[in-house]
């Protein structure tokens, strides 16, 4: 309240003088004390002049204008003072110093607003914090979206790089094999160059402990087409990728630093890679990053000169489009070449699939990221809604001041700009705090490192992200500022006369605020429903039988026996069996299993098989099956039950008996009933492959993830003609898994057979399972956080509106209570208000959520996108929370003492 001895108008006028003077000083670097002195002195001058003019009969408006005419123009004061020493203080107010007037005026408004907020720290803190949550979340997710989806791959002209694949029926895709790749390389017209690549784990021996590292295998054309130059030495010769050439390797920068201390002398040295000596010919730049791989060395991918015949798909291909060639043209070119494949490819019904390399890296994580982006956008909108509400409340209290400014000659534009500047100051402060939050979030994300998220190391707060944040902050500021401008941008001068006491409950005033709350509730409900559906998906996935039991008790690791160390396949199989036996002898081990791939470990090798007596149409139905090579003990160790028949014995492995095991999914697919498959015969596609009898059908493995249908799998005995594999995964079941020393004992057991075999991919089955649920968990956690924040802000919004309405209606409540209304009546009045708002919000939110179902259904499992249980449950929960948020302020409203309320006349 103003001092009663000083008329209110005097206070406002003095504030105006001070503002006018301050505005003219803002471009100088005055110390705050000095500036305050000058403002004081010049304000006094203006006031003296004003009083003199009024005493002489001038109207207050004329007097104000005449007094201000004592200034020549806006910048004269600063110009005159600039050469003074006091104008060169260290106070760093430089923005706008030499700019256009508009910018400088804006800066003045901003400074004025900042000063105002310093006097209302609670209001400013509430608004800034709310926005910081919204902007922080948006920035964090944008930094992920940008790093993962939008940032070009780290190669020059990355937009002309493509992945070359084929599509098979039923949405399956295939990579390349020697036949397909060599056909493309010889016949293509669309690409500057085409290359093949693969990753494999290799053992490097001869330099200290044996080391298992990832090797990137590439044809000679790959590095040149990526335009990657070695920093030391040279790249591959065109001939280096032909069969029979001596092996040469390039080192990645990290490996070079780690193992060779960055010595230039590395070129020409020899590494023993999986038993084969290889000459080091160069080192790749530190910036070299290849898609989702993390190789230590880069080796040639050896290819035959001519297509070898037979169907196999085992590596990837990439190419660079010729200038001017579109994806459509490249796909047409590929389609032409698919027709050139040998006739036995026809059954696969391949179609071309050339797509941007970036899309290939991102995989299916793109959709979920956009959904998250939308979710945090919604959180930001809700936050803006709340801040808009705060500003509306604050605006009510300032109607008097704004009207006074208009009365004193401020234009509508000036008022609008002042209001928007205030929004902007809060928005930018919120943005700054949001960046801090987002930085923390990205750091956390790097630490958690969700397996499903590619390009993780490219996520961070960089210039683009900062620009995005500034833009989002300003947009938010504009958004919630607009409400204040619409409401208060054109104050009526009559408000001054009313003395700030306006009608206490003008409906128009509440309409905006009510609409904001309804929107907030609706958006929050939508997010809550989406995360509710994700929770149900997560629960459903947990209940799926994955094809194993008690995964925490299963330790897995990979052992590779390179042909260079043991050439003979039977001998290699005996070594694997010896290791199995030694592992089984480790105390506490219940059983040991051996397979080319553990459930869900990401190995997706596969091919097609012939089924005896099947027609060509039938054969197409079992194109692209998953192949695994296994040894006795695997199903028992995993806890996968036999549905029909039996497993195999070691004797059958060594005698290479024509037996085979298939998964129940495959059995159902071909023979409808698993037991009907027993005794039927199948064989590999290569010429002269013998028919093998199906002796067992095992339970389904969810090899492609818990939310995918069971995979159709062919289990080949370890020694076979179609799917030979020298890299085997061990599964060891024991209650001791995870206890100290256990792993070391397993390692010793392996090394007691062969000291040169490193253990790779050491992980428990539980970790593998967790990784396969990573995308769902990630989405669940992120959406959950978004929904939680949305709910919190939304509820605060409801609370705020009811609480404000209660204070505005104190006098009305007083009257009602004086006329005999009971506490309950008053409480019901507010509860009804809150419930009507909540109900409207829920209705709109349900509609929004229903519209989203199509987008969402791809991410759901075991629950419909319109699951009534989730919709009803979430709506109910939200209604209860909203009821509480309404009840608290309404209870306070009934504590009004009617006498006090009426006397205060608030």
């Amino acid at each position: 309240m103003p001092d009663p001895s000083t008329p209110w108008n005097d206070v406002v006028r003095r504030a105006l003088w001070a503002q006018e003077v301050r505005a003219r000083l803002s471009s100088l670097r005055l110390s705050p004390t000095r500036e305050a002195e000058i403002v004081d002195e010049l304000s006094q001058h203006l006031e003296d002049r004003y009083r003199e003019l009024v005493a002489g009969g001038a109207s207050p408006g004329d007097a104000t204008r005449s007094a201000l005419a004592g200034f020549r123009h806006n910048s004269a004061l600063a110009e005159q003072m600039r050469s003074l020493q006091q104008a060169q203080q260290s106070a760093p107010v430089t923005l706008g110093a030499r700019s256009e007037n508009l910018l400088r005026d804006l800066w003045q408004d901003v400074r004025y607003a900042s000063r105002a907020f310093r006097k209302q720290p609670a209001f400013a803190a509430a608004a800034v914090l709310t926005l910081a949550l919204g902007i922080g979340a948006t920035t964090a997710i944008f930094s992920v979206v940008y790093g993962v989806l939008l940032k070009p791959l780290p190669f020059s002209d990355a937009d002309t790089l493509v992945a070359v694949r084929q599509l098979a029926p039923h949405g399956a895709g295939t990579n390349q094999g020697p036949t397909t790749f060599l056909t493309y390389r010889a016949n293509q017209r669309s690409f500057e160059a085409i290359g093949a690549w693969d990753t494999t784990d290799v053992s490097i021996t001869g330099r200290g402990d044996p080391e298992r590292v990832q090797a990137l295998q590439v044809t000679a054309s790959v590095l040149p087409l990526l335009r990657v130059q070695p920093v030391v030495g040279r790249g591959f010769d065109p001939e280096d990728d032909r069969f029979g050439r001596p092996m040469r390797v390039l080192l990645t920068y990290g490996y070079w630093q780690r193992r060779f201390g960055g010595a230039d002398t590395v070129v020409g040295q020899t590494l023993v890679i999986s038993g084969t000596p290889a000459e080091v010919i160069g080192v790749l730049p530190a910036s070299f990053k290849f898609l989702r791989t993390r190789p230590e060395i880069v080796a040639p991918l050896p290819l035959p000169d001519n297509p070898p015949g037979g169907i196999s798909f085992g590596f990837q291909a990439l190419a660079r489009l010729k200038p001017g060639v579109s994806l459509t043209q490249a796909n047409a070119d590929l389609g032409r070449m698919i027709a050139l494949f040998p006739p036995y490819f026809a059954g696969l019904e391949l179609r071309p699939d050339v797509r941007p390399l970036a899309a290939d890296v991102i995989g299916n994580v793109g959709d979920i990221l956009w959904i998250l982006m939308a979710a945090v956008g919604v959180v930001l909108l809700i936050a803006c809604g709340n801040v808009a509400n705060l500003f509306l409340v604050r605006g009510e209290a300032r109607r008097q001041e704004l009207a006074m400014r208009v009365a004193l000659g401020a234009s509508r534009g000036r008022i609008t700009r002042a209001l928007l500047s205030e929004s902007l100051v809060i928005a930018l402060a919120g943005g700054a705090a949001g960046i801090a939050l987002a930085y923390g979030a990205t750091q956390l994300l790097q630490r958690i490192a969700p397996a499903e998220l590619p390009r993780l190391d490219e996520i961070g707060i960089d210039t683009t992200v900062l620009l995005f944040t500034v833009a989002v902050s300003m947009l938010s500021g504009g958004l919630f500022g607009v409400f204040a401008v619409l409401r208060f941008g054109s104050p009526k001068i009559t408000t001054v006369r009313e003395g700030g006491r306006s009608a206490s409950d003008a409906p128009a005033r509440h309409r905006t605020r009510n609409a904001l709350v309804v929107t907030q509730v609706a958006l929050a409900l939508t997010l809550l429903i989406v995360s509710g559906l994700m929770i149900r998906t997560f629960v459903a996935m947990r209940q799926v039988d994955p094809g194993f039991v008690r995964p925490a008790d299963v330790q897995t690791f990979v052992v590779a026996i390179p042909p260079a160390s043991i050439r003979d396949n039977v001998q290699a199989a005996r070594t694997f069996e010896n290791i199995s036996q030694r592992l089984a002898e480790v105390p506490g081990v219940d059983s040991v299993g051996l397979s080319s791939s553990i459930t869900m470990d990401g190995e997706d090798n596969g091919n097609s098989i012939d089924v005896e007596g099947a027609s060509v149409e039938d054969a197409q139905r079992h194109a692209m099956l998953r192949f695994k090579s296994f040894a006795p003990g695997y199903f028992e160790t995993m806890g996968n039950r036999l549905v029909a028949g039996r497993s195999i014995r070691w004797s059958e492995v060594y005698e290479q008996r024509p037996v085979i095991v298939i998964s129940a999914a495959l059995a159902r697919k071909v023979w409808k009933d698993p037991s009907a498959a027993i005794g039927k015969r199948v064989r590999g596609l290569q010429p002269n492959a013998p028919w093998r009898e199906i002796v067992g059908v095992v339970g389904d493995e969810r090899d492609d993830g818990l939310n995918q249908p069971p995979t159709a799998i062919v289990y080949w005995p370890m020694l076979n003609e179609s799917y030979r594999w020298r890299i085997m995964a061990y599964a060891v079941r024991s209650a001791r898994v995870g206890t100290p020393g256990f792993l070391r004992e397993l390692e010793q057991a392996v090394w007691s057979v062969d000291r040169n075999l490193p253990l790779a991919s050491v992980q428990t089955l539980e970790e593998i399972q967790a990784r396969s649920m990573a995308q769902t968990s990630f989405a669940l956690v992120m959406l959950g956080i978004a929904a939680g924040v949305a709910l919190l802000i939304g509820v605060v919004g409801i609370y705020g509106v009811i609480a404000y309405a209660a204070t505005q209606r104190t006098r009305e409540i007083g009257v009602r209570m004086a006329l005999g209304a009971q506490t309950g009546d008053i409480r019901r009045l507010f509860l009804r208000h809150g419930l009507v708002l909540t109900a409207c919000g829920i209705a709109v939110g349900l509609g929004l959520a229903l519209m989203l179902t199509r987008v969402m259904s791809a991410f759901l499992y075991g629950v419909g996108a319109r699951d009534p249980f989730t919709y009803a449950g979430v709506s109910g929960a939200l209604a209860v929370v909203a009821l509480v948020a309404t009840y608290l302020p309404s209870r306070r409203a009934t504590r009004v003492n009617p006498i006090v309320a009426l006397r205060a006349g608030v």
């Binding site: 004081d40 010049l42 006094q44 004061l77 003072m81 003074l84 006091q86």
Partner: protein
């Protein structure tokens, strides 16, 4: 004519002897800014008007040169005002400037008076 500092003359001509005006008005007693601007206006018969954005920078400049000194004075029932008074150094400068000015006026009189004589 030898005692006229031609550079000083030049400067004074450009500046319209504003400094001299301020120093002269402060010679008798300390005054505040509004008082100074009013005095200049009335005593010049409305011919000379100082804008706020010229007057105060000039006061601050003179203060930085230590020719005048400002001090806040509070009177009961009024807001504080800043009064300026002449320093000893300011008095010396004023004497010097008066001499320069007189010499200038004398020179002008001789030249212009000669024409009309």
């Amino acid at each position: 004519m030898s005692d006229i500092d031609t550079r000083a003359l030049d400067r004074e001509l450009k500046r319209g002897s504003a400094e001299l005006l301020i120093l002269s008005l402060l010679e008798a007693r300390p005054r505040h800014g509004y008082d100074l601007s009013k005095l200049i206006h009335t005593r010049s018969g409305g011919q000379l008007t100082f804008h706020i954005d010229s007057l105060y920078p000039l006061l601050y400049r003179l203060e930085e040169r230590k020719w005048i000194a400002g001090a806040w004075v509070e009177k009961p029932g009024e807001r504080r005002r800043r009064f300026y008074k002449l320093t000893p150094q300011g008095k010396r400068v004023l004497a010097q400037q008066r001499k320069t000015w007189d010499a200038f006026v004398e020179a002008m009189r001789r030249v212009t008076g000669g024409e009309h004589a």
